[in-house]
Assembly symmetry: C2
Homo-oligomer: 706 residues x 2
C-alpha cells in the first residue's frame, strides 16, 4: 500500500473537533475507562465518540459498536488495545477515514524486535490511509485550551481543572507529561497543549514543536528530548521560535552513558551527542535545564515575565538568614546583585537604617512599629529601582502575609521586569498559594527553582544575537578540492588541507635522507623539529617519532636516524618519511578539532592543549561553519580565557588569529560534510597579540560519502 498524503494538519490533531475512544468504558481501572472519564470530566466541547460493541452509551454519550459505525469525519482516535489487536484496529481506523490515531499501546519498537516489526507494519498501514500516528508507547495529550484531557494519566482525575495558560510541552516521556501536568497544576502553570510523542514512529517531537511555535496562544515551549530525528529541521524550528519571540526550554536525556542507555530502552531512541545538542541550544537560544520539574517551574515564571534588562537582581526577604544564604548563592553563581540607587536609599530610609539597607532587604529589620505599609514601601522601592532588572521576593512564614502578597502582586502587575516570588513556606502558605493562583501570578516554592529562573533570565539576556543567514566564508578559505581521498590523513596531508583554508602552519619540508634533512633545516633556520610521518601512527610522540629543538646539523642527523629506526619498528617499509619543521614558540597551546554529528552535522571544538585538555576538560563545541564572532565567543567561554586575554604579568595573546584558525577549520569541516570523520590541530600555538597563531601538528580522517 502506498502512502497517501496526510488528511489532517498537525494543529488540528492537537485541537481535534471529534475524538473516538476505542474501547471506551466506565471502568477507571481500564485504559479506555480512564481516558473516557478524563475527557468527560474536563468538559471537552468537541464531538466525543465512545467505541464499544457491548454498550449503548458510555458515561451518557452514545456509543458505537466499531469505528466504522461512528459518524465521520473523525479527527482523532485513541487506541489503547493490546499489541495483538493493534494492527487490525489501525486498519479499521484508516478505513473509517480517521485523521490521526493516538496509540497508547506499548511493547512495540521500544520493547523487542517483534514489537519493532509490528510497529513498522502499523506505520505502513496508517500511511496507506494518509492517517497520522502519535506514539505508539505514548500517554496521549492534554489540550487545555480545548478542555481536552486525552490521556490515561490518573493525574487528570485529581486536577480540578486543565489550567489554561501560555505554556506548551512536547515530551518523549509519557509518565513525565503526567508528572509535569500535576506539578504545573499545583503551581499555577497554565498550558495550551501537552503532547506525549512516545516512540515517534510517525509524528515526532519536531512536528508538535512546530505546531506550538505557530500556535498564537503559546508563548513558552517546553521540550523533553531523548533523541532528535532530523537535526537540521530542529535547528530551523528553534530559530523560528526565537524569531517569533517564543521562549523554548528543553531538557535532554543522554548527557551520560547511563542516561543514553535508559533512553534507548525507554523509547528506542539513540540519544545522540549531548555536546552537539547543547551547542545547538546555545546557538538558537533554547534554554537547556537539567531537571523536568524545574523546567516547568521556570516555564511558569518565564511565560508570564518580560525579558530581563541590564542591571542586577534586587531582593527582599522575610528571613535575614535565608536572605544571607541566598545572596551568597546568587553571587557565587556569578549572577549580579543590584546596587540601590540613591533614590531607593532615600525611599528605604523611611523605615530602614542605613546599615540595614543591604541587598537583600530584610523586612524584619525595619524601624518603628510594624505595619503593612512598611513592607509595601520596601517592596515597591526595590522593584522600582532602575538598577534592578529582576526582583526576587523570598517569603518564609512571616507577619502580614496577606498584605505582603498583595503588594507583590501589585508590583508584578505594573513593573516591566521579571518578578520572582518564592513561596518558601511549605503548606503554611496555603492561603497565599490560593491567592497567587487566583491572581494568575507565577511563583516557585524552592530557592533552587528561583536560582534556575534567574540563571535562565541572565542567560537569555546575554545570549548572542540571532544570526541572520549563514556566516560568511572567510577570505581565502577555498572550497574543498574535489579529490580529497578517504582515509587517515598524515600530518603533512592534514596541513595541506588546513593551508588550503588559509590556516597558518609551520614552515616545513618533507625529506627522505639525513642529508636532505640537514639542508632543509638550514633553509628553515635552526632550531628545528623533525617528525616521522606514518599512516600507521596516530600518537607520534609515544613512538619516538618527534624530536624537538634540534640546534645544529649534527642534532638533525642523529634525529633523522633515530626516527628512521622508529618508523621501521612501527612497520613502515621503504625510505623513511620525515618532515623537518620550524620550531614555533608562543604563549599558549590550543587544540582545535572537528567531527561530524549524525544528527546535527559538522561540529568544531576548541580547548587548551597539552595537559589542560586532559585534566580540565575545558572544551567548547559549536556547529560548523562559524562566523568570526562565534569563534571569538567560543574562546571567551573557555575557563582559561584569561590566559588568552592576558592576566597580570602576562601579555594579551593573538585572539584574532586563534579565532580565525577556528573559523577556517569550521569551514573545512562544513565543506567536508558527511565525509568528515574527524580533524585535529594540536597544538595551535598562539603568540602574543599581533604575532599570529600557527598549526604545529594535525591529523584527520576522511570517510566516503554517506
Amino acid at each position: 500500500m502506498n502512502a497517501m498524503s496526510p488528511r489532517l494538519p498537525i494543529e488540528r490533531i492537537i485541537k481535534p473537533r471529534s475524538v473516538a475512544i476505542i474501547g471506551a468504558s466506565e471502568d477507571e481501572a481500564k485504559f479506555g475507562g480512564r481516558i473516557m472519564h478524563n475527557v468527560v470530566r474536563h468538559g471537552y466541547a468537541g464531538e466525543l465518540l465512545p467505541i464499544n460493541p457491548n454498550r449503548e452509551t458510555v458515561l451518557g454519550r452514545r456509543a458505537y459498536p466499531n469505528i466504522g459505525a461512528a459518524p465521520g469525519p473523525i479527527d482523532l482516535a485513541v487506541v489503547a488495545v493490546p499489541a495483538a489487536q493493534l494492527l487490525q484496529t489501525i486498519e479499521a481506523c484508516g478505513a473509517a477515514g480517521v485523521g490521526a490515531c493516538v496509540v497508547i499501546t506499548a511493547q512495540l519498537g521500544e520493547f523487542d524486535s517483534a514489537g519493532a516489526a509490528l510497529q513498522d507494519k502499523v506505520v505502513a498501514t496508517a500511511a496507506g490511509y494518509g492517517m497520522r500516528l502519535i506514539g505508539p508507547n505514548c500517554m496521549g495529550m492534554i489540550t487545555a485550551t480545548h478542555a481536552l484531557g486525552l490521556t490515561s494519566s490518573p493525574t487528570l482525575q485529581y486536577a480540578d481543572q486543565l489550567r489554561r495558560g501560555p505554556v506548551g510541552f512536547v515530551s518523549q516521556s509519557g509518565a513525565l507529561m503526567g508528572a509535569l501536568f500535576v506539578h504545573g497544576h499545583d503551581h499555577g502553570v497554565g498550558f495550551t497543549s501537552m503532547i506525549s510523542v512516545g516512540n515517534q514512529a510517525d509524528l515526532e517531537l519536531a512536528d508538535f514543536f512546530e505546531a506550538l511555535i505557530e500556535d498564537d496562544e503559546t508563548n513558552t515551549i517546553c521540550l523533553y528530548v531523548e533523541a532528535i530525528k532530523k537535526g537540521r529541521h530542529f535547528v530551523e524550528l528553534a530559530q523560528r521560535a526565537r524569531a517569533r519571540g517564543k521562549r523554548v526550554i528543553a531538557i535532554k536525556a543522554g548527557r551520560t552513558e547511563a542516561g543514553s542507555a535508559m533512553a534507548r530502552s525507554h523509547t528506542a531512541s539513540m540519544a545522540g551527542s549531548f555536546a552537539a545538542f547543547e551547542a545547538v541550544c546555545r546557538e538558537t537560544g533554547i534554554l537547556l535545564v537539567d531537571e523536568p520539574e524545574a523546567m516547568i517551574m521556570a516555564a511558569g515564571v518565564l511565560s508570564r515575565s518580560p525579558r530581563m534588562g541590564q542591571g542586577g537582581i534586587g531582593m527582599v526577604v522575610s528571613s535575614g538568614g535565608g536572605g544571607a544564604v541566598t545572596a551568597d548563592r546568587i553571587t557565587a553563581a556569578g549572577l549580579p546583585l543590584a546596587r540601590w540607587t540613591d533614590a531607593t536609599r532615600t525611599r528605604l530610609g523611611t523605615h530602614f537604617l542605613r546599615t540595614h539597607q543591604n541587598n537583600p532587604i530584610d523586612l524584619g529589620a525595619h524601624t518603628g512599629a510594624l505595619g503593612p505599609h512598611i513592607f509595601k514601601d520596601a517592596i515597591e522601592a526595590v522593584a522600582e529601582d532602575e538598577n534592578v532588572a529582576a526582583f526576587l521576593y523570598i517569603m518564609t512564614p512571616q507577619p502580614l502575609m496577606p498584605q505582603t502578597v498583595e503588594a507583590i502582586i501589585g508590583v508584578w502587575r505594573t513593573a516591566r521586569k521579571p518578578i520572582i516570588f518564592v513561596l518558601d513556606t511549605s503548606r503554611f502558605g496555603e492561603d497565599v498559594r490560593w491567592r497567587l493562583l487566583d491572581a494568575g501570578m507565577p511563583f516557585v516554592t524552592r530557592i533552587d527553582d528561583a536560582m534556575r529562573v534567574l540563571d535562565l533570565l541572565v542567560r537569555e539576556r546575554d545570549q548572542a544575537p540571532a544570526t541572520t543567514g549563514a556566516p560568511q566564508r572567510p577570505a581565502g578559505a577555498r572550497p574543498l578540492p574535489a579529490a580529497v581521498p578517504a582515509g587517515f590523513l598524515t600530518e603533512p596531508e592534514a596541513k595541506n588541507l588546513f593551508r588550503a583554508y588559509g590556516i597558518a602552519t609551520t614552515r616545513e619540508q618533507s625529506v627522505r635522507t639525513a642529508r636532505d634533512a640537514v639542508v632543509a633545516a638550514e633553509t628553515i633556520g635552526f632550531p628545528v623539529v623533525a617528525k616521522g610521518v606514518s599512516r600507521h601512527v596516530v600518537h607520534k610522540s609515544d613512538l619516538g617519532l618527534v624530536r624537538l629543538a634540534l640546534a645544529d646539523a649534527d642534532a638533525v642527523t642523529r634525529a633523522f636516524d633515530d626516527i628512521a629506526s622508529a618508523l621501521a619498528a612501527a612497520g613502515d617499509a621503504g625510505e623513511p618519511n620525515v618532515v623537518v619543521q620550524e620550531m614555533v614558540r608562543g604563549e599558549a597551546e590550543l587544540i582545535l578539532g572537528a567531527h561530524y554529528d549524525e544528527t546535527f552535522g559538522a561540529q568544531v571544538l576548541v580547548g587548551f592543549g597539552g595537559v589542560m585538555v586532559e585534566v580540565l576538560r575545558d572544551i567548547q563545541v559549536a556547529s560548523a561553519p562559524l562566523g568570526p564572532e562565534q569563534a571569538h565567543a567560543m574562546l571567551r567561554r573557555l575557563s582559561l580565557w584569561p590566559v588568552l586575554a592576558g592576566t597580570r604579568g602576562r601579555p594579551p595573546l593573538d585572539v584574532d588569529a586563534g579565532a580565525d584558525a577556528l573559523t577556517r577549520l569550521s569551514w573545512l569541516a562544513h565543506d567536508l560534510g558527511s565525509r568528515l570523520r574527524d580533524l585535529e590541530i594540536n597544538p595551535l600555538i598562539v603568540r602574543a597579540a599581533g604575532r599570529g597563531a600557527v598549526a604545529v601538528d594535525g591529523r584527520g580522517t576522511i570517510g566516503d560519502d554517506r
Copy 2:
C-alpha cells in the same frame, strides 16, 4: 555587679521544668499572646506561669502580676517587651531567681550603637544574677520532646503537632527556625529541640550544639551559622559529635561579601572566613550544604538512615524519562551508579527483558500483565543487590501507588542501607505522603534534594578518618626561634624561616657588589638568577628586580647593575642588596601560603602557581598544623592533581616532596600562632618523582603577639 556562676545547665534551659511568659496574653496579635497560645496549644507538661498584672488567668492558667510574684524556682522566662523596658524586666527576672531568659526583644546589638550599649547592660545585669540569656533578637525555641513551643512564630499555630524525632537544630536566624520547622513538619522530619540564638549576647550556638551532642535523643544536628564565636571550641565540639556517631549538617552565611554584609546587619555577626569554616567542616566531618530547606530535608533522611557502604546507587523509577535525566545528573555529579549482580539480573528477568534491565529500572517497561508483585519484586531485587549501597526510588504519578509505597516501606524497614524515596508527585501523592508520615519513613519531594542527600552520603562515606590527637611534628622542623622580628620578611628572611623548618630552598648568596655577584654565580654554577631585595617591595617582578637564566659573568654583571638602579628607584638607599640563586627547573609550580584566621587560627593553602592560581582559583585550604596524610589529601583535591600524579605523556611528580613542604609550612604557621599574618612560597618548583621540590621565592609578614 560581679558575674555569678550560672544557676542552670544548658540541657535544663532546653528542657525547662517551668516557664514564665512575661506579658502573657490571649491576643494572638501580640508577641506574648502568640507565645502563650503556642505553648498551651502543644501541651507543654511543665509549669506554665503567665505574667500579666491585669488578669487573674490567661488561657485558663493562673496569672501573676509580676515575675517576683510567681512561685519559683522558675527555669525560663520569655521576654518580648519593647527595648525600653528590657533592662528593668531582666533585672526583675534576675531578682526573682529565674534561671535563664529567652529574649525575643530586638533592635539591640544588631540595630545601632544605642542598642548595642543596652545589650551590654542587659548581659551584665543577667550575669550579676547568674542568669543566662538566649538572644536578644531571637525567636525562642521549640523542644518537641517536651511539647514546648516556646516561640512567637505563627507556624506553630498551623502545625498539628510538634513532631518528635532525632534532629536537633541551632539557628542564628529566628525566621529560619520557623521556616524550617514548617518545612520539616510537612515532610515528616522530627525534632528534639530547635533553638534560635539571635545575637548570642550570652549563650551562643556552640553552647546548644554541645547540649545536642550530649542529648541521647538527638542523632543529627543541623546548624545555621553566621559567625562562630570561639573557633577552637567549635572544632572540639564537632570532633566530639563525630566520635559519638552524630551527624552534623551545617549551612553558613558569608561565603561572599553580599552574604557577609547581610549577616553583619542581621545578628551583628562578623561572618569570618568561609574558606576556613569550610576547611574545619571537612576536617571534622561536618556536612556543609548551601540551602536551609535542603539541610532539613537531608537531616530528615540521614537521621533515619544508616551510613552508606561501598558500592553504588541503585535506582527504580516510575517514569523512564525522569529516570534517564536523573541517571545523567547522578553520573555527571560524579556519584556512582551500581551495576546489578548476576543474582539481581536473574530476579529482574522474571518481569523485565534483558534490554530493560538498566539502572534505573523503569517499572513501566515490565513484561506481562501489570500487578503489584512486579513492582515489589523489582524494588526488592534492587534494594537487596549487594552492589547497591544506597537505594533511590522516584515516584511520579503512577499505577499502584499504595502498593508500591508499602513495598518501599518494607525495604526501608529491613535493608541495612540508605533508602531514598522521592515523592515527586506534587499534591497528587497526598495519600502516599500521609502513609509515609504515619510509617515514619523519610522522603523528599524534589530530585534536587535527593541529589544533595546522595552527595552527602558519599561525602560522609569517603571522608578521611577522624584524626586522633594532633599530627606529629615532622623531623627537623625546629620550633620557632624565639626572636623572629615583627614586620615584612624579605625573600632571604622568609627563606631562612622555611629552611629552619626543613623546607628545601634555592642555593643562594646575598651580595652587595657586581664582583661578588659574579663570584657567587661561579660558586653556585651557571645559569643563575639575580634578585633585588627590598623591604619596600612585595611584587619584585613588576619593578624589574628579578633577572632569570643568567648564563655567564657578563650577564650577571649587567643584571646586577640593572637591579641596583631599580632598587635605588624603589627608594632603597645605600649599597644594593642582591641575591644570586641557582636557576631551578622542574615540572610544576605550586604556590603555598599560610595566614591566621581570627576564628580558627593558622590556616595553610596550596594551589598551582603562575597563571593557574589567578585564572582557575584552584586552591585548597586546611587548618594548621597538618600531618603528611592531610597534606597529600589537599594536593589530591586540586583540580589539577593529575598534573602532579602524572597523566599521559607526563611523568609523575614528587608529590611526597610537595606534601612535605606543605606540612612543614603548616608547622611554621602553627608555631607563629597569632603572630602570623601571612607567609607565601611562590613558586615551590616540583620536580619529577624522587627529585624533590624547592622553594624558589617567598615572603611573609609577622605581627606582634595579640
